[in-house]
Symmetry: C2
Subunit: 160 residues, 2 copies
Amino acid sequence: MLGEVEQRNVGYTEIQADTLEEVAAFGIEEAREKLYGPAMIEDAGLFIESLKGFPGVYSAYVFDTIGNEGILRLMEGVADRKAVFRSVLGYAEPGMEPIIFKGELEGEIAAEPRGSGGFGYDPIFEIGGKTIAEMDLAEKNRISHRGASIRALNSWLASR
Amino acid sequence: MLGEVEQRNVGYTEIQADTLEEVAAFGIEEAREKLYGPAMIEDAGLFIESLKGFPGVYSAYVFDTIGNEGILRLMEGVADRKAVFRSVLGYAEPGMEPIIFKGELEGEIAAEPRGSGGFGYDPIFEIGGKTIAEMDLAEKNRISHRGASIRALNSWLASR
């Protein structure tokens, strides 16, 4: 199981790339050089199938500019609303090749924003008729892509 | 004046950043290490005022995913259609700090795509009622943001 985790804002270079895996693989190399001991970084994004994966790797930027309103405009009248939240986690220890862990959450883009919980795209991402912003924190953590990638790392740490 | 220019696909890291200047400043450092002699890189983007600068630094990615159709959807019913094309050029020679040159072209987002020339966002970017895609190459080169940044470099080279 994980021991203590400390969040440190050392900063690392986020590259432009097609996949979160590339961003994390590049970033963990830089982060590990700035930290002593084990290092972990996480990057996440929303990938909408009918928009060729947009906003994808640039989800934070897209949220800050066109926001959920923009995403819903782009999805007006679009029948295929399939989307996936992805979380990619880079982990490294001194003297070891970094490892990438992933988590995914499949869902659909809602017709309009609903719910007041969560943040970012949570109000427009729904599963079984409920948006993430309509879930309580326990429910969100149980299904979330970040929860999944963290648990994957946790299992790996516990198993060796 | 510029002498011979050779295009080489050495590749360099494009970072995620708020401005083209940051992307070019980071990239030219890497490109110069890979090249002998003077090196130049160029990055460009479309910045739409009412969309907080979107698609900006990620213009290529946005074009490849939601395209001009997506931009026009986001601009439906939006009165303020002001936009600017920006080109940023990083130039370096051995033993010298890189210099950044810029070019801009102000215009507006058209109501629908027009014209068959150019590429990318050219059909939806208009100046004085004419889109870039409706201009011939000579006209485009005379006003273009890339033309401006290249001429700025050229003047600098000629003046020293």
